[in-house]
């Protein structure tokens, strides 16, 4: 094989670097888009046994948007393999502890199970905000389009534009300027795991 052909093959199997902006995106939908790039499914040379996955750099994982009331309904189960050590962590708690974990777990469950999954996960780089280290930023050569448009917040709208907007409804009489209209999720509310652990009927130990 000539050096020319060898370099051609090198280029065919070169790993690209893609950027994905997670701002206001549903992580569980986006995970399937990221999966396509992490496992190389978008390439014509793809084969399940072919190690041709790309790198994906995810930014703004802090500003991820969960659907519905998933922030306080979705629980992440963990067991430390000690008696009584099972735990259900709510999504908002997990996000407070580490704001990259929700994206990481979403992608991990989206990827195909198998020996390649660990390697593919190492090619996923998640950053909570838009600050990427320069050595990683230099590699990026492509951007994956987001799935949903990013809505603009009222704070981000300039005052001139906001003042022109007519008032659409009357505020309640007891509304205090500057307070949150809908309030925050109740942290005392009990965890409701979406997938309840399997319990065979009539097999309770007591």
């Amino acid at each position: 094989m000539s050096s020319f052909r060898r370099a051609q093959q090198w280029a065919t199997f070169a790993r690209s670097w893609h950027l994905y902006d997670m701002k206001w995106q549903n992580p569980y939908e986006s995970a399937y888009v990221i999966k396509k790039y992490l496992s190389g499914l978008w390439k014509p040379i793809y084969h399940p046994l072919n190690n041709c996955g790309d790198h994906v750099v995810v930014i703004n994982s802090k500003e991820v948007a969960l659907p519905g009331d998933d922030w306080y309904r979705r629980a992440y189960f963990h067991h430390r393999r000690y008696a009584g050590s099972k735990s259900w962590t709510l999504a908002w708690e997990l996000h407070e502890a580490d704001n990259t974990l929700i994206v990481k777990k979403a992608v991990y469950f989206a990827l195909e199970k198998g020996l390649f999954r660990g390697n593919q996960m190492t090619r996923l780089h998640i950053f909570p905000d838009a600050n990427i280290p320069p050595e990683i930023a230099g590699n990026i050569t492509n951007q994956i389009r987001p799935l949903r448009p990013v809505p603009s917040k009222l704070e981000e709208v300039p005052d001139e534009v906001a003042s022109q907007c007519p008032q659409l409804f009357d505020l309640p009489a007891d509304f205090v300027e500057g307070s949150d209209l809908w309030g925050k999720p109740d942290p005392e509310r009990k965890a409701q795991p979406i997938r309840t652990p399997y319990k065979p009927k009539g097999q309770e130990p007591w």
Binding site: S3, F4, R5, A7, Q8, G138, N139
Partner: protein, 344 residues
């Protein structure tokens, strides 16, 4: 149980050792008692030890076997390669100098000194054949690749006529055992000279064209399955390209980095394009910018020299008469321009 298994293993060993070594024992198949079994096992152990000490068996020449008839072999060989030989020239082509000397020595030992029984060796035939093949291979390559610089024609010819590749041809047409030589197994140089002598013998018997046809069908055809482009590698690729453009009086080619991937990793890939007068003329990939530049220059050079990568099909069936009448040499690399090629 263990004893039985040991006996079984030993009996297999015994059978093998009897077959392979030259020691002759009468094997009597009886039901052995304890004593006989032990004795037999001892004997097998001893035989095995001796066999280990003696080392691997020596390979014997095929000619020492019972089913061997040299004349029939020669006849079949000439039919196999589809050639006819006159006046025992085939036998002469297979006779090495060392064999002649060996025969003379044995005849002297036996007291035979018959001047009529002098054997002729293949040295003159080999010279003739080597000259023809060197000349014809170069002519053939020049006819097949008229745009290629002369230096590259020479390098492909040297690759084709390497002693290893020529010797490989001889052992793959079943001629290795037919060589009459004092050494066994035959050395590479012996096989090479036999091959050239074979060509010389064909030339002597059936004429130059027939000899050239043999060279075409066996030496040139060995290029099939090989990457010809890998043999066409100038030393300084981009410099060569630049010089050609300067010689043609055009603007020098301009390399540009078209794309790159993973430049801060240990597995980067770069793609360089070469432009001339704002037109894209070639692309190349590489792990570094320099490699990519070299490959891009190569792709342009190969296109200009008429051997584009992955598209070029080498012609293996050119007419021998036409090749032999081609007396032109290709343009040397130091003077190569596109105008000189197009005027041909």
């Amino acid at each position: 149980m263990a004893t039985i298994r040991g006996c079984l293993a030993a009996s297999v060993l015994f059978r093998n050792s009897v077959k392979k070594s030259c020691v002759k024992y009468q094997v009597v198949r009886t039901v052995y008692g304890r004593k006989q079994s032990d004795e037999r096992a001892d004997m097998i152990r001893e035989l095995f030890k001796r066999k280990q000490e003696a080392g691997p068996e020596k390979k014997a020449h095929r000619g020492t076997y019972l089913d061997w008839n040299y004349k029939s072999e020669l006849f079949a060989f000439s039919k196999r390669i589809g050639e006819t030989f006159m006046n025992g020239s085939l036998e002469r082509a297979f006779t090495q100098r060392s064999y002649v000397l060996q025969q003379e020595a044995t005849q002297k030992d036996l007291g035979l000194d018959d001047p009529d029984r002098v054997l002729e060796d293949n040295r003159s035939l080999a010279e003739k054949g080597e000259e023809l093949s060197r000349d014809f291979v170069a002519r053939y390559l020049r006819t097949a690749l008229p745009c290629l610089p002369e230096e590259n024609i020479q390098s492909i010819r040297d690759h084709l006529l390497k002693p290893e590749s020529v010797a490989n041809i001889i052992s793959n047409i079943g001629a290795d055992e037919l060589i009459l030589t004092s050494e066994f197994p035959t050395e590479i140089q012996t096989r090479v000279s036999t091959f050239y002598a074979l060509i010389g013998a064909i030339e002597e018997s059936s004429g130059q064209e027939r000899g050239a046809l043999f060279v075409r069908d066996f030496i040139i055809a060995s290029l099939s399955g090989q990457d010809i482009n890998a043999l066409i590698m100038p030393e300084n690729k981009f410099e060569t390209l630049r010089e050609i453009f300067l010689r043609e009086g055009k603007e020098p080619p301009e390399p540009r980095l078209i794309s790159h991937v993973g430049i801060n990793t240990i597995i980067p890939s770069y793609r360089v394009g070469i432009y001339s007068e704002k037109k894209h003329i070639g692309t190349g990939d590489g792990e570094s910018v320099k490699d990519a530049l070299d490959n891009a220059s190569l792709s342009v050079l190969w296109k200009m020299w008429g051997v584009p990568d992955a598209v070029f099909q080498f012609p293996y069936q050119l007419d021998v008469g036409q090749v032999l009448s081609n007396n032109q040499t290709n343009v040397p690399g130091s003077e190569w321009t596109r105008e000189k090629i197009s005027c041909r």
